[in-house]
Symmetry: C2
Subunit: 391 residues, 2 copies
């Protein structure tokens, strides 16, 4: 196990009706005037936004509203948010939504107190300071409610890039599984896929002797395999939603990823897909993960065999571990298909002819030098082959 | 799953040589003058205390030293610590040691800023305020490095009782697995047992639909079963020590215990043993757990069968689940024996004739009304039978 630091100071309020605590939690964490940042009309139509503004009013916290965050959130709205926060002297950003809204809120929070262009943080500068952020989560997926990360897409060139820093870790996150019951099945499944990808990206490590984190990752994957189909079958299954929601946070606050190298190649390969086609991140991952794993499997066959046996219940083929490894990858692929995720480029709405464009953006975008690295280093030729495995 | 809050804001620095960060971490978390609280002579002889005082000197943090914490830490030393902190205007308490030292430090931190008797916190009053606490952990066991809890024994009557409050959660904890390599095997094994008890106490729940936390608990138990024997066989196995150390923290910061009722009857039953005989808490638990589980098993046979199958690899007897449940308990008992823990009263140094005294202290001590409650409610007669199962 490698040396590490771990810090996850977010306060979580989990369960039914917890959104009513939004106002008092903002006050508890020092906010006196809030930006309520949200996405489309569903937060308003469902009455959620009304319940939250009522909670802030009850707690005596004035607020401004800024909606309109899109999936794969854009830099344009971030600039507007920063301007609004400065003009209205806002000192707390409350995100009401999923990962996109939270990531946009984090970008606004960091950008408001920064003299330069907030995009600097998305091209390598570490975030050291930000307005405090709180969240009311409406989809279990990105894990942004407990993470120090944010991913934003820049309109010029449609570059999708990430930033990080403890300063943008939410001070509090409100997790009410009931709020996710109204999600369409496709979005629910994309969220499940994203959570499983966060686990697999941590599982694919070159570090040795990491039994405790291996076991924790396997535990959360087993949970997703058990709960995922239940919630697809019955969207109103509160208990399944609750198990998925806590697993989604634990999958990405890094408690199960410490002390080990991680991968994140699959996320990077997918980011180019959702940047170009504006597809759901999770849907892109469902197509990406099996392709990447098939391509890199031989780098550490026993690790993939371990996942196959411990997570997917495969029988170990001791004479041919690669057979078991492949079987585990195939089970993962079939699982994604079973919950309604796309299986290939065509179902995702991606085009073979764009592969050179995808590869160029992936391997040369934003300062990269012709390759991406993680579990294995992948150059342009590797990345092209991986995209072709998705056809 | 039940509604819950979760808050674990401790900063963890994990790995080799991390104790050198003690001084800078105290400063980072606002300390200007520290009490260094420790146990016996081993911290001094090993050179650990010198490295830590050097780190504080380098960071420009003056300090006072207070050693002498015993296993099952006593109120007498806590009173001395409180007096010292007030007199010397100390604003940070650094614990260098295991759970006993950390718990004593927490009591001092809470008592220093409290007008009344600190023992009030150990008879039901919640801790709302305390000096900041940091830790340098030297044994993986109690989980106190990431918990809001403290257990102290009052000399008058030898009552062993717990207190709790977010204010005594460590601001930082330094976890260097190498520091645990010098521990005698018996103490190492007692620590392993304590960690497994923290997991089982959370596993025994009456809450339904808690797959995610069930799986996480099982993952950590599987880790202990894998790493425990390796470290008993070779005390210098850094990697096994590292896996156990992180598992020990995760076992007790409650990330795997949220949203569910928990047990803690076994801990309470054991506390009377270590209070009366001053035995190692873990050694007492090794004798207590199998007895309690055998006694309460029929309250939920399938839960014990699940642990047997998922954690201990037993084959499920679908016609007789109670056979599988018992087999899992027997495997747990044999595991404790295999790592050198006592199996009964005699090996623990406990006496049959003391059972009435133990039962009285357990069921009527400190405000209890003739029973203890958790997974099941146990009255005096139940507790007597359980102690007799340990003979």
């Amino acid at each position: 196990m490698e040396n590490f630091t771990f810090y996850s100071p977010t306060f979580f309020a989990f369960g039914k009706d917890t959104e009513e605590q939004a106002g008092s939690l903002i006050k508890r964490f020092g906010g006196t005037k809030a930006l309520i940042h949200y996405g489309g009309s569903s937060a308003r139509k469902s009455g959620l936004l009304d319940r939250i503004t009522a909670s802030l009013e009850k707690a005596g916290v004035p607020y401004e509203l800024l909606g309109g965050v899109q999936p794969n959130p854009r830099s344009g709205l971030v600039y507007r948010g920063i301007e609004l926060c400065r003009k209205e002297k806002i000192d707390f950003v409350l995100a009401v939504g999923g990962g996109s809204v939270i990531d946009s809120a984090k970008a606004i929070a960091a950008g408001t107190v920064y003299d330069g262009d907030f995009w600097d943080f998305y091209t390598g500068k570490r975030i050291e300071e930000a307005l405090p952020v709180g969240t009311v989560l409406t989809i279990a997926a990105a894990g942004s409610e407990g993470s120090p990360d944010s991913v934003i897409t820049k309109e010029e060139g449609m570059f999708k890039r990430g930033a990080s820093g403890d300063a943008i870790r939410p001070k509090f996150s409100i997790l009410n599984p009931a709020l996710t019951q109204t999600l369409p099945p496709y979005q629910t499944a994309a969220g499940i896929t994203d959570i499983m990808a966060h686990l697999y990206e941590r599982y694919l490590t070159n570090s040795k002797e990491v039994e405790v984190t291996d076991r924790l990752i396997e535990a959360l994957l087993l949970t997703m395999i058990h709960e995922g189909p239940r919630v697809i079958e019955n969207p109103n299954n509160y208990e399944a939603r609750a198990n998925i929601m806590w697993a989604g946070m634990m999958a990405h606050n890094n408690s199960c990823g410490v002390g080990r190298s991680q991968d994140w190649n699959s996320h990077n390969i997918e980011h180019e897909l959702s940047a170009l086609y504006d597809c759901a991140h999770g849907a892109g991952l469902a197509v990406t993960l099996p392709a990447v794993f098939t391509y890199v499997m031989n780098h550490d066959v026993m690790r993939f065999a371990k996942a196959a046996v411990r997570v997917w219940g495969c029988q170990m083929d001791f004479d041919h571990p690669e057979v078991t490894a492949l079987e585990g990858i195939e089970k993962l692929r079939q699982f994604f298909i079973s919950i309604g995720m796309p299986r290939n480029f065509a179902e995702l709405g991606a085009e073979e002819e764009d592969i050179p464009t995808l590869v160029r953006a992936l391997c040369w975008g934003d300062g990269r030098q012709g390759s991406i690295s993680g579990f294995v280093t992948l150059d342009e030729s590797d990345c092209e082959k991986i995209y072709r495995l998705m056809l």
